[in-house]
Structure formats: structure tokens, C-alpha cells
């Protein structure tokens, strides 16, 4: 197969001092946008192999599969790349019984990890949310300056941003500026 060109590949924001701030692109994965009605969540969970959380903002994982609940009937499903076709096939088989929409958006987004004791501060440069209120293992769609992002708090000091490719440079540029401020302690 031909070569893939990955946005932000090889770029890295890191400040001096251990564990202060590290911003990097995340390895590619399979991503699906799943839309399914309330009554079918159990079936869909089975198909994905991971219980779909029912509360907006909740997440769940099983093995390397991750389900992020973004709306009342909307989930972002993340899985290792090699699981892509099997997931599609499982859902397709269920379609007659369980009408839903499963759309491959693997290439739509770029994943960015923002990690370190300065992660929250870096995000506060352009994210209007009160991150003190955001529990670990919760997710939300929000904005980062002028870009829409999905923000997933993986740990106290570790966030994952999912952003459409063409907005990634903008998000990166601001994180870079914020990283410089953290570096300078200003």
C-alpha cells in the first residue's frame, strides 16, 4: 500500500524539567462515529466488544477499545487499526435488526496527547472549560480557540485531543505558544 502522510508527525512540544509538558501526536487508530437509538445500546455494545456508556461525557474501555459518549445517541469508538474491518463487519451484520449509522472517520481526525503537570495550564490558553470540574476518564466536545475538538481526560495530568486534520496546525500552534510561556515561567 502507498505511504500515508501523517499530520504533525515528528513534531513535539516539550518543556524543560521532567513531567512539565509534553505534546505529541498519537499513533493512528481506527475511529468510528456511531449513532444508534437508545433501545439498541446493549446490542451495539456487544458488537463493539465494549460497553457503551450511557451518559454524555462518560467513557468506557475494554482491552484496547474505547467508547466515548459525545451526545445522547452519539459515540466515538476508538480501536486498534487492525480491528477496523471486523468492527465494520459486525455492525453491518446487525444493521437489519439494529438500524444505526457507523461511519469510518479514522482519517478525519488527529489525536494529540497533552501530558504533564503543565497540561491543564497549556489547555487553558484556549479552552474555555473549567477543567477543575472535569473528572478523569470523562470526555467532551468543546472548542480550543477557533477549532472544535474532542477533549478526553485520560489522567489527572494527561489529556487527549481529537481534532479534524485541517484544524490540527492551529491547535498545535497555540499549544506551542502556551508551552513557551510555561517554559519561560511567565
Amino acid at each position: 500500500m502507498l505511504q500515508e502522510h501523517r499530520h504533525l508527525e515528528g513534531r513535539r512540544i516539550a518543556t524543560q524539567g521532567p513531567g512539565v509538558l509534553r505534546v505529541e501526536r498519537i499513533e493512528d487508530c481506527a475511529r468510528f462515529s456511531l449513532r444508534v437509538a437508545d433501545g439498541n445500546i446493549a446490542l451495539a455494545s456487544k458488537a463493539f466488544g465494549c460497553d457503551l456508556p450511557r451518559t454524555i461525557g462518560a467513557t468506557s474501555d475494554s482491552g484496547a477499545r474505547l467508547a466515548l459518549c459525545l451526545g445522547p445517541d452519539e459515540w466515538q469508538l476508538l480501536a486498534p487499526l487492525d480491528g477496523r474491518d471486523a468492527i465494520e463487519a459486525k455492525f453491518a451484520a446487525l444493521y437489519p435488526k439494529m438500524p444505526h449509522s457507523l461511519v469510518d472517520v479514522s482519517h478525519r481526525e488527529v489525536g494529540i496527547v497533552v501530558e504533564g503537570t503543565g497540561a491543564t495550564l497549556a489547555l487553558r490558553s484556549a479552552c474555555p472549560l473549567d477543567l477543575r470540574d472535569m473528572a478523569v476518564a470523562t470526555v467532551t466536545r468543546t472548542v480550543f480557540d477557533k477549532a472544535q475538538i474532542i477533549l478526553f481526560r485520560e489522567g489527572e495530568n494527561r489529556f487527549r485531543i481529537e481534532v479534524w486534520q485541517s484544524f490540527a496546525d492551529h491547535v498545535w500552534g497555540i499549544l506551542q505558544a502556551a508551552g513557551r510561556e510555561i517554559e519561560l515561567g511567565i
Binding site: 454524555i56 461525557g57 459525545l70 451526545g71 445522547p72 452519539e74 474555555p128 472549560l129 467532551t140 466536545r141 468543546t142 472548542v143 472544535q148
Partner: protein, 100 residues
């Protein structure tokens, strides 16, 4: 920047995540062809534009994506309450009770 309570997310979120979407409780006629030109004009263009409590639609665009309804005071800009799309127009006493 306003704080807006999304009735789907059950959380107060910053205004930049939302977009305004016009007056609420204006249902599209089930058969527009049955309407006279005058009635259709009224449906399309005539809005209440009140001073005070205004029923309006918002969408949590950069959030859960849902359209919902709100009661907002056009003088103070303050939200009295928000509620899910499809629910009936709240009564005056419900609005009064909801106001923080």
C-alpha cells in the same frame, strides 16, 4: 460570555460552544401547500420580538450537538431556563420558579 445550561449534557457550559437558532415553538406546517401566501409569509418571517421573556432555540453545536429551547430575558440577556426540544412551552409560573 454567557453560561448556558445544556439540558442534554445537564451542565452549564460557556457560550462559545453554542449557537443561537431563532425563536422557538414555531413548528413547520405539516402541509405547507395548504397554507395561503399570507399564512406562509407569517410562518416564515413574522416573529414576536418581545421585550422580556423570549422563547428561543439554541444548539450545543460544539458539545453534544443538540438543539434545545430556552427562555431568556431580552432586557437583561439572562437565561431563565433551558429545556429539551419537543417539550411544551413552559408556563409563566414554571419560568418564575426556574429563575435562579
Amino acid at each position: 460570555m454567557l453560561l448556558i445550561r445544556c439540558p442534554y449534557c445537564a451542565a452549564e457550559r460557556p457560550e462559545v460552544e453554542f449557537v443561537y437558532a431563532g425563536e422557538a415553538h414555531i413548528a413547520r406546517p405539516s402541509d405547507p401547500s395548504a397554507l395561503t401566501d399570507e399564512q406562509w409569509k407569517n410562518h416564515l418571517f413574522i416573529r414576536t420580538n418581545p421585550r422580556g421573556a423570549h422563547f428561543e432555540r439554541w444548539r450545543h453545536l460544539h458539545g453534544c450537538g443538540r438543539f434545545f429551547n430556552a427562555v431568556r430575558d431580552t432586557v437583561t440577556d439572562k437565561f431563565a431556563m433551558t429545556y429539551r426540544a419537543g417539550l411544551p412551552r413552559p408556563t409563566a409560573s414554571e419560568i418564575k420558579e426556574a429563575r435562579p
